[in-house]
Symmetry: C2
């Protein structure tokens, strides 16, 4: 065969995380690699009731095609419930349903980015977003982070230096992979800069509701006066990822572009899944469900950080996330976390090497640990094994 692919196809490669997820399917492995929620918290019995009810009440509509924008009652409840948690006043007209936030990420690049255009992102940033963006052949400008998230002075300097930049991408809460959270002051500044430099901000917010300490932070979107901020939400971390339901919240003018792109991409999300989530949120208290998740994840985070403290070499640095699913580990500069993974797999423990989270390369001496998917006992055992590997290598 002698097939000629598009230029972009030759430039995109398989996501390291997805490839690594295959490793987590190996028997006996203790995996901190994926970003999987704890399946024991899925409301399986309630979903059975909900699923039957949706089919009995209006099965014909639930199994039929429906509109690209999404099921109106779901869009309505997202606008009222979830967006108000994020501090945003929104209506049905601001919401389009997506197949997880991943689809919102891909659409954003498609909508804003031509070949060679600049995307400004945090350094490091979410690998799955970077891979989705790469299909549109952008140039990435990485902005360093500290404990308060993206450095907004550096961001402004980049906006001055690159006035043609097309999009700012940020995960302000419990960032993937770093676990860091942007301060409220900086969120205000990002919203202000977006307006000042007429540049859309893509606010990726899968973890914001999983705040272990205090309230959910106000989103950047909550400080958006003119509609430059596009907010991506999802039920993957607060409910069930297997249903593949997320949303875009944006100004109606911008949202119209997402709707057109979604028409071409896959017509619409699953009709029945949309109705199930809407009915679940009507019949049960999703906030209560999220409270349960937070309690478990908070304990797992504590166990992981305690175990790192206990078993990892002293010189290893790591973040102390206030929510979400991940902590981020930095090892000696001359080490390559991918090599350490190879060694770790011999002891049946896995993580994601950090290199791929930096779109312009380098920084191989980092890795990401997930604490949501393994129970406390396995976290202790896994950290002990990983600690041994690190003691040997570092």
């Amino acid at each position: 065969m002698n097939i000629r692919y598009s230029e972009r196809t030759s430039k995109i490669k398989a996501s390291e995380i997805r490839e690594l997820l295959k490793l987590t399917e190996m028997p006996d492995i203790i995996s901190f690699a994926g970003g999987l929620p704890a399946p024991e918290l899925f409301p399986i019995d309630k979903m059975e009731i909900i699923s039957s009810k949706v089919l009995r009440e209006d099965g014909k509509a639930a199994l039929q095609y429906s509109t690209t924008e999404g099921y109106v009652p779901l869009r309505d409840i997202i606008a009222k419930q979830r967006m108000s948690v994020a501090g945003v006043k929104a209506s049905v007209d601001n919401i389009m349903i997506t197949s997880g936030s991943q689809q919102g990420l891909e659409f954003s690049a498609k909508i804003f980015v031509d070949k060679g255009d600049i995307i400004i992102c945090e350094s490091p940033s979410y690998l799955g977003a970077l891979n989705a963006f790469k299909a549109y052949q952008p140039t990435f400008i990485e902005i360093p982070m500290d404990d308060d998230g993206m450095d907004v002075d550096e961001l402004e300097a980049a906006l001055v230096k690159y006035p043609d930049a097309k999009m700012i991408y940020t995960i302000p809460d419990f960032q993937n992979p770093s676990g860091k959270t942007m301060s409220v002051e900086r969120r205000k500044k990002v919203a202000k800069l977006a307006k000042q430099y007429s540049i859309p901000v893509l606010e990726d917010s899968p973890y914001s509701e999983l705040a272990f300490e205090g309230n959910v932070n106000p989103s950047i979107k909550s400080f958006d006066e003119e509609g430059y901020v596009i907010y991506l939400g999802t039920f993957s971390k607060t409910f069930c990822p297997g249903l593949r339901i997320g949303w875009v919240c944006a100004d109606p003018e911008i949202l119209q572009k997402y709707i057109i792109v979604k028409q071409g991409a896959d017509l619409q999300c699953s009709t029945i899944s949309q109705r199930e989530i809407a009915l679940f949120m009507k019949e049960y208290d999703l906030n209560e469900h999220i409270d349960n998740i937070k309690e478990i994840y908070k304990r797992r985070r504590d166990v992981m950080l305690d175990s790192i403290e206990k078993y990892f070499p002293r010189e290893v640095k790591y973040t102390r996330p206030k929510g979400g699913l991940f902590t981020w580990v930095q090892i000696n500069e001359n080490l390559d976390a991918a090599k350490i993974l190879e060694e770790a797999l011999k002891y049946k423990v896995a993580f994601v090497p950090g290199g791929s989270f930096f779109p312009n390369g380098g920084n191989l001496n980092h890795f990401r640990l997930n604490y949501s998917n393994m129970n406390e006992e396995l976290i202790v055992e896994g950290m002990k094994r990983l600690g041994n590997v690190l003691q040997k290598c570092c």
Copy 2:
């Protein structure tokens, strides 16, 4: 706001069909516009049993993330059952699950087409595919059709004239919108040309199993010796579109590109929907279900064609589809079907004007009629009304 979109976004517009679907939601309208299956045939009770069983047997896995390629037992049963109906020997390694065939269409353009590249397609062709392709800014070369489908001599002439063409797009069975079917001889020729000119053929096959007369035709893929044919299948017309489950069947080398693109696009399809369809096909006979659908649709087609004969002006031409969902009507050359739709809507009857099915424009004197979604009584009434409108306009 002063947002700068990508070049492609300014060139794509909302699908006429999807916009028109909104009209079908108006009360009392008799709509032949959409491509909706008959919802009264959806196996609602069986789906309730299946859905409960999937959740009870392995709810944790059903609601969790899973692999991009799709659920192995579903890929396996598609390879064995559905692809053998299409005359293709396939295995799990040839199948990736997509969100309907629409997603397979969009991915194909993303994988093969750079700006300005040539896509060769039937004239007319499926509007939703054309819109998905347009996002990648191709040039379309339209190949005329006769009662045996795409004219393969014209196709070969185009391949000679445009040796850099990137993709041939065809719907060989009961084509959308024309209702025409490609002869077996031409299918063989298309497979041969693909190999000879090293060009991928995208075989879009949503309707092939809805053959009212005799067996399902052998697919173009069944004559593919070297892997140039990419087959798109879906459960949307043979089961339920609301679940959004389709598939790509391709050579593993090509399929790898689809898997990478899907990773970036939305990670994976709904885990639970995939398990539901796989279990349905294990516990029930999908072929029997398809037989029921065919029986009903065949009667509806007959009623529609009889009513056209009875109520439409003599000079109107129309196709006699041997399966699928659509017939295609040609009116006097100086008429614009979009204007006739405006008139028809006054009488509460709807169809899709044909102009948008021609990627390079023109041909306004056509429209598409769907016969799967309205019952026989409404088809007679709708055709009567439409006949009156046409008698006035023509």
